[in-house]
């Protein structure tokens, strides 16, 4: 079976305590915690794998230990000189290790595989597990004034409604940024404003106009969804909660979450539902990619192109509305299938809209490519070096722009992708232009995929009555190639209709750690563009317009006005 070959290779070198198979292509090996770094490094570099996710788990009620799961996607390194792993052998190997609660430490994998850095920092925040040898031991997710001895995801730590008291601003501990030595200018960007309006704080360390290094702090709005789901949600509600993780690739999250639950329960959904899931997620890809190409134009001051691309994006939103009944949050996925079918008439209308989108996308792309000034702003900026991409496992267009062909639709085809033919896109050079180019190619293949789905879609049931076979302690992973790269959800089932542990890893999470290397050596003026080319998740409301319909007058409320309204009591 899939992956057995690799397990044998690992067995020759290391002592594997136990091997289990969760799903057709998902395997878990249990190793001693002292072997952990060597095993992960061996799979990552010698066999050829990328880090998909890492999950910490409090399993004291199951086996009296804490557990760590390093999920590696064995797909070959994809660098030009390395061996290729054929598609039918690709699989996920999870390296599991147990940590006794008395010691709470494990050897860090980060010095060997840099991609683990954020995950290991997060595990400290959430469980208090210390990675010995981790170069960067700062907090990642929790706020600076969070109590030092409270680790929220431990099962016995706190009630999910508990909020620790907020420290006075003057007593709040300072977050230390990694400042390089030398006489450098420290430029703060944020916390509320870089490129788009999202709480993220960036420090650019500059020598004159050139960025020498950068550091950033995110998670200002960490919402604790995992804790909430473990305590309060049932499987029916979780899909809807997952959809609200992101305002752009919400559908990818809901599919990933539901499919993880379906895999853990061993449910196979009908073909028609599989095809329609793909249709919706490709529509989502269309609008997300158009959004990012538009914003890349806007970040360089090209508002005409930005406005026009957003106009095309409007058609994709209408398409989504036609297919699911919602412009953005589709609320369509349930365990066992989908909730809303498409009629023949709707398919016909969708095909017309698609044709329109295709024509306009090509037109606008030609026009932008004709504009030499625009293209020069993108070329050679924010280069993601191939070796750094190899070390940090970024995902999606960010990775493909650097010439590494990572696409879960090809590597680990799920649902209907097994039946669909399409050529994945790849860029060269790893600069902003390469990423934008990959996105344009993705747009075209997306349209192609939707057409194929409509053609191949079988008739029949849209959902099955899911008799979820819930076994406490069983786990599986659901993954979706979202517009920004793969989105991975990991679910461990618990008793009484609830999850034991839910780990949602959004695609941008994997892209952030390598950003500082992309920023290095560029000018301050391009910082916003580089961050934008990563396609980070951003959402916020900047302003409100009040329109008086009777007098036909409108007034824009500024931040001051909004604050004054909030303070006013009635």
């Amino acid at each position: 079976m899939r992956g057995d070959k690799f397990i044998k290779l690992i067995e020759e070198k290391f002592n594997i305590l136990e091997t289990t198979r969760e799903h057709e292509e998902q395997l878990t090996i249990l190793v001693d915690r002292n072997d952990l770094p060597a095993v992960v490094k061996y799979i990552y570099y010698d066999i050829g794998a990328y880090l998909t996710s890492m999950i910490g788990n409090d399993e004291r009620s199951i086996n009296k230990n804490y557990a760590l799961y390093y999920v590696l996607s064995v797909e070959g390194s994809k660098l030009p000189n390395d061996p290729i792993i054929p598609n039918e052998e690709k699989c996920f190997i999870t390296v599991k290790t147990l940590i006794p609660p008395k010691e709470m430490t494990y050897p860090s994998v980060t010095p060997y595989v840099p991609a683990c850095v954020w995950y290991e920092r997060e595990v400290y925040d959430m469980f208090g597990l210390v990675a010995e040898g981790l170069p960067d031991k700062r907090r990642l997710m929790l706020s600076d004034d969070w109590p030092n001895d409270l680790f929220p995801l431990r099962k016995d730590a706190m009630d999910y409604r508990f909020r620790p008291e907020i420290t006075n601003p003057e007593n709040e501990p300072e977050f230390t940024f990694n400042e390089p030595d030398g006489d450098l200018i420290n430029i703060p960007l944020g916390p509320m404003h870089i490129r788009n309006e999202e709480p993220g704080h960036f420090r650019l360390f500059c020598d004159g106009d050139t960025i020498v290094d950068a550091d950033y702090r995110l998670f200002y709005i960490h919402r604790g969804m995992e804790k909430l789901a473990e305590n309060r949600m049932n499987y029916d509600q979780m899909g809807f909660l997952a959809e609200r993780i992101c305002g752009i690739c919400g559908y990818a999250h809901s599919i990933a979450c539901i499919e993880a639950a379906e895999r853990a329960g061993g449910i196979e959904i009908p073909q028609r539902a599989q095809a329609l899931r793909i249709v919706c997620s490709e529509i989502e890809r269309l609008h997300s990619l158009l959004l990012n190409i538009g914003l890349a134009c806007e970040a360089t001051g090209n508002y005409t192109a930005f406005m026009h691309i957003f106009k095309i994006r409007e058609y994709t939103m209408q398409l989504a509305q036609l297919v699911t009944g919602g412009r953005k949050t589709y609320g369509n996925v349930i365990i066992g299938g989908l909730r809303r079918d498409m009629t023949g008439n709707e398919i016909k209308q969708s095909l017309e809209t698609l044709a329109n989108i295709e024509i306009q996308v090509n037109e606008i792309w030609d026009a932008i490519m004709d504009d030499k000034r625009q293209v020069k702003r993108w070329k050679g900026v924010g280069v993601l070096d191939q070796q750094i991409a190899r070390d940090f496992s970024p995902v999606g267009p960010n990775m493909r722009g650097s010439g590494i062909m990572r696409d879960y639709r090809i590597d680990h085809p799920y649902d209907f992708y097994k039946k669909i033919e399409f050529t994945p896109s790849i860029g060269e050079g790893g600069d902003v232009f390469a990423r934008i180019y990959v996105r344009y190619q993705d747009l075209k293949s997306s349209i192609h995929i939707i057409r194929q789905c409509f053609e191949l879609m079988p008739s029949g049931n849209l959902s099955i009555k899911a008799n979820v076979n819930i076994q406490a302690g069983k786990y599986a992973m659901g993954y979706v190639e979202a517009p920004r790269g793969d989105t991975t959800h990991w679910i461990m089932q618990g008793g009484s209709q609830k999850v034991y542990r839910w780990r949602a890893r959004a695609s941008t999470y994997a892209n952030w750690p390598s950003l500082r290397y992309q920023l290095r050596g560029n000018s301050v003026a391009d910082a916003a563009l580089i961050v934008c080319s990563l396609d980070p998740c951003f959402s916020c409301t900047e302003r409100v317009i009040i329109t008086d319909i009777k007098n036909k007058e409108s007034k824009i409320l500024t931040e001051k006005d909004l604050k004054a309204i909030c303070r006013k009591k009635d």
């Binding site: 005409t304 106009k311 509305q321 949050t329 609320g331 030609d366 026009a367 504009d371 000034r373 009635d570």
Partner: protein
């Protein structure tokens, strides 16, 4: 650059003058759920299905209070799917802003409760019982079976189980 402006010119305007003119949404749009009190039977299926707990059905004194808080609603249409009578349907309404008065977002309905024929305890809404009786008449069951069911409909859960056990016992005795 000029090419871009030409394209923009070619396709004209996409924006509409909303709110000065209406913005049309497709029929399948999932807007604000609308509650038809006359159809509601207080079966609480919607409150069970609702993922964000926006709908609550509670017994207050002698009434069953159905309450929907649109501020919590995520417009998923689960309630619409499960409602047996079509009392709650998603409309195409999308203008939901309430001016500093959140009570404008709440829809409410109160239904009388029926008392148990045996012990007199309030246990369900009168509408749910008459709905069940109506459905029973339409059902394709034997007359005796319907008669039996009609008798049990008017009992609260505790009395129902007591009666059922009692009748089973007597039946068993008769057979013996």
């Amino acid at each position: 650059m000029m090419k871009l402006i030409d394209i923009t010119d070619k396709y004209g305007l996409e924006t509409c003058k909303y709110p000065l003119e209406p913005y049309l949404v497709p029929e399948t749009y999932r807007g604000q759920p609308k509650y038809k009190f006359d159809l509601c039977i207080g079966c609480a299926a919607c409150s069970v299905a609702c993922p964000p707990n926006a709908i609550s059905v509670k017994a207050v004194d002698t009434k069953v209070v159905w309450e929907f808080d649109c501020g919590r609603c995520i417009f998923c249409a689960r309630c619409d799917e499960v409602c047996p009578t079509g009392a709650i349907r998603l409309s195409t309404e999308y203008e939901l802003a309430a001016k500093f008065d959140k009570s404008a977002l709440i829809q409410r309905g109160e239904m009388d409760m029926a008392s148990c024929a045996e012990c007199g305890k309030l246990y369900s809404t009168k509408r749910l019982i008459s709905y069940t009786l109506r459905k029973l008449e339409l059902s394709n069951l034997s007359e005796e079976r319907i008669k039996n069911a009609k008798f049990y409909v008017n009992l609260c859960p505790e009395c129902k189980s007591k009666k059922a056990i009692l009748s089973l016992e007597t039946e068993a005795k008769e057979i013996l």
